[in-house]
């Protein structure tokens, strides 16, 4: 068994052990298996990547078996390790392991403890399939698998109908995207006869593929990505997905799974490089998502929802980068985002944990002193996401803004301006969060305040690690590292000299956001309240999340229900089909009744009947003959 297979299978083993035996063998066993195996996977991955580095990062392909074969075409189950998947594997196993560790503290005492770790391991297994798969098929298996794990984990506390509904919504929304993904995949298969992504890239790089438009394939695959990465119009599931345990939100709905779409597009950069239309679509969707999600985040009051919309927004940023051809930059942001968003979510988890489940930021304040470690790490991560130098987010976001402006592959001022505005809002809503939760005087009741306590070391330790990574992660230049596989777009020469001003602007945006938040939410946040009152309509629109859910419900959900219940079931099955049947049966019964009436019992009538038959026979045939 090759190393890649081993990496993938280790979490699966964890899932099986925990799933089958975990409930019976106790917490220690669950911990050892649940955290140990992902850690082992991380170690193996790190060692493999080290070997790879020593060899100068050749693409390693490991074929496991043939899934299905048709003549000379076949679906192989194979893994591919190159620079891109190396980054992803390390993020997934690394952050994954950290979050497993964190969970041992966070989930302590939960009756579904073993089940939780089983699910989490299952998630890792599928995520690794996703990032290591050589063929789109394997990627798709992982893709759907992480969706499943996400579904299970969102609905982890299934007794709450809302939570299980959120899980279902996530799954369904993803499925819609998957339909596009599948279509794209089918077209590729049809035209190329292979789903191996390296082969696909190569084929498109070699020139136009006969009978297949790269733009179409690109857009279809991107539809899949919008589902998984919560882009407009399929973004609605992610905020609801916060129903799951917070570490899950950190791992799946912030750091790893939701970035799968980004990974997909980056992985298939060969297609998008020759499909400028598709790239334009991606950039547009990305920036719109980033912008609108940010506006919603500004008014959210649930700590996790703020982070969720922030995630959506940040993913939008990544797609902007993808849309302008800066694939490496998108992965760079993915990478930094994994750290700081995981840190933020886990920090939020720590806050929630400290407050015994409270998630509404309006009932939080002044927590900085009570839970200092959490506060410190949260602050670092906030600064990182806001793009304050020299934290990780600064580098990645700056590069995105830069390429949005200057890339020759679709960069534009409008794109840049929207992105910049979004960056400003990002800084604002993040600092707003920080302010409301940690700063100011305590507004909590004594009882609650009494319970507030710092989280156990298993949790704070992870927070610290992630905070450090958020702080220094930016110094490892992913775009540069990935350049051999994901070349960066050329820069519009006219924009060359705007690079330095842009750096300044970027920093300024972050600081402005900080200042704005500090000003508005200083003291009892009365300024913010006044502002809300002033723009009540806008505020309602934003807190209502642009009523997209309601729109979907009205435009799709209810019509579908109506169609199914009234038209298909009522009219179709009951009236038209069964009605016809029963009508025919009734007709037969009526005919039978008619025949019975003819059979009067009177001998004379019988003879008359015979006479009639005789006359009929004779006249008919004599008339014919």
């Amino acid at each position: 068994m090759g190393a890649l297979t081993l990496i993938v299978l280790l979490p699966l083993l964890g899932f099986l052990l925990n799933g089958l035996l975990g409930g019976r063998l106790g917490r220690t066993f669950v911990n050892v298996v649940g955290c140990g195996l992902p850690l082992l996977a991380f170690v193996v991955a790190a060692l493999t990547v080290r070997d790879l580095a020593a060899a100068g990062y050749p693409a390693v392909i490991e074929t496991v078996y043939t899934w299905a074969a048709f003549g000379d075409r076949s679906f192989e189950i194979a893994f591919l390790l190159d620079r891109l998947s190396a980054v992803m594997v390390l993020i997934v196993t690394g952050v994954g392991t950290l979050i497993h560790l964190y969970s041992t503290g966070y989930m302590k005492g939960d009756p579904g403890y073993a089940r939780y770790f089983a699910y989490l391991n299952l998630f890792l297994f599928f995520m690794l399939l996703l990032v290591l798969g050589r063929s789109l098929l394997v990627l798709f298996v992982g893709w759907e698998g992480v969706g499943l794990a996400s579904y299970l984990l969102i609905g982890f506390w299934f007794s709450d109908p809302e939570k299980s509904a959120a899980g279902k919504k996530a799954f369904i929304t993803n499925r819609i995207g998957d339909a596009g993904f599948l279509l794209g995949m089918f077209l590729l298969w049809q035209a190329l006869g292979t789903l191996d992504m390296d082969a696909i890239n190569a084929a498109f790089a070699a020139g136009p593929v006969p009978g297949l438009s790269a733009a179409l394939v690109g857009i279809l695959l991107f539809v899949g990505a919008t589902g998984k990465s919560a882009q407009i119009p399929l973004h609605v599931w992610l905020p609801d997905a916060m129903a799951g345990p917070t570490p899950v939100s950190a791992l799946i709905h912030a750091a790893t799974m939701v970035t799968a779409g980004v990974y997909l597009v980056a992985r298939l950069s060969g297609v998008y490089l020759v499909a400028p239309e598709a790239s334009a679509v991606i950039a547009t969707i990305g920036v719109l998502t980033a912008f609108f999600a940010a506006t919603i985040a500004v008014v959210q009051t649930d700590i996790k929802k703020v982070l969720a919309y922030s995630t959506v927004s940040q993913l939008g940023f990544m797609f902007v980068a993808l849309g302008v051809g800066a694939y490496g930059v998108a992965v760079f942001h993915l990478y930094t985002h994994a750290f700081f968003k995981a840190c933020l979510f886990l920090g939020a988890g720590s806050v929630i944990h400290a407050l015994g489940g409270e998630q509404d930021i309006r009932r939080m304040s002044g927590l900085a002193r009570r839970i200092p470690v959490t506060f410190a790490t949260f602050a670092v991560a906030t600064a990182a996401i806001a793009g304050l130098p020299p934290l990780a987010g600064f580098f990645s976001k700056d590069e995105i803004l830069w390429y949005a402006l200057a890339s020759e592959r679709g960069g534009s001022t409008l794109l840049f301006a929207t992105a910049a505005l979004t960056a400003l809002m990002t800084a604002f809503y993040m600092f707003r969060l920080l302010w409301r939760v940690f700063m100011g005087a305590s507004r909590m009741s004594h009882e609650v305040e009494h319970h507030v306590h710092e989280s156990p070391p298993s949790m704070t330790g992870v927070l610290v690690v992630l905070a450090v990574l958020s702080a220094v992660g930016g110094f490892f230049s992913i775009p540069h590292f990935l350049e051999p596989v994901l070349p960066l777009p050329t820069i519009d020469p006219a924009m060359e000299h705007f690079h330095v001003p842009l750096l300044v602007l970027s920093v300024a945006l972050g600081l402005t956001g900080l200042a704005l938040a500090a000003w508005l939410y200083a003291g009892d946040a009365s300024r913010a309240a006044r502002l809300e009152a002033r723009f009540a309509g806008l505020h309602r629109l934003l807190t209502g999340k642009y009523y997209v859910d309601e729109f979907y419900e009205a435009a799709i959900g209810r019509p579908l229900e109506w169609l199914s219940r009234r038209v298909f079931l009522g009219l179709g099955d009951r009236i038209l089909l069964d009605g016809t049947l029963h009508g025919l049966a009734g007709l037969a019964r009526r005919a039978a009744g008619g025949f019975a009436r003819i059979q009067t019992g009177s001998l004379q009538a019988y003879v008359l009947l015979g006479l009639a038959g005789l006359v009929l026979l004779l006249t008919w045939s004599l008339g014919n003959g």
């Binding site: 009177s602 004379q604 008359l608 006479l611 006359v615 006249t619 004599l622």
Partner: protein, 167 residues
């Protein structure tokens, strides 16, 4: 010539007798009408030269069957409603149907051949017929005896069943 005329006469009489039977109210009158009709037919047969059949017609039909019939009628209660109300409810459709039937059969018979009605009276003389019957067609003689035995047994069984247990 007179034979032809008689043939027509007897034929018309037979048909009239049949009609009379249908309209006669009392069964006894109907039976008499039928006897008339049968005797007329015997006349027709005789005119056609089929003397044997004419004889049988008188002997078997009139002599045996109709006597049996009349005897039965006399046994029965004449106050029975069926004696006073002739027609069933099917008079009109029945007449129409029967009319149509006779018309259609007659139409089919329209070119039944114009051979003279009495070609070879020789074959139907009593003697020659008897000889032929018993030499060539004795099988039917035997079979009719089997039939009659069966009929006798059946009649006895019917009497027994009809007169026996009843619900």
């Amino acid at each position: 010539m007179i034979e032809t005329a008689l043939t027509y006469f007897f034929t018309v009489a037979a048909v009239l007798g049949g009609m009379l039977m249908l309209v006669a109210r009392h069964p006894m009158r109907a039976a008499l009408a039928l006897v008339c009709s049968m005797l007329s037919l015997a006349g027709v047969y005789a005119m056609l030269g089929v003397h044997v059949i004419a004889v049988f017609q008188v002997l078997i039909y009139v002599g045996a069957v109709m006597i049996f019939m009349v005897y039965t009628i006399m046994l029965l209660d004449v106050r029975d409603p069926s004696f006073t109300r002739r027609w069933s409810g099917l008079l009109v459709p029945g007449v129409l149907g029967a009319g149509a039937l006779s018309a259609v059969i007659a139409w089919a018979l329209r070119d039944a051949g114009d051979a003279p009605a009495s070609a070879s009276t020789e074959a139907f003389g009593v003697q020659s017929f008897a000889v032929t019957f018993l030499e060539e067609y004795w099988l039917y003689f035997e079979l009719s005896s089997v039939l009659l035995v069966a009929a006798v047994i059946a009649a006895i069984a019917a009497l027994r069943a009809g007169g026996g247990r009843d619900g």
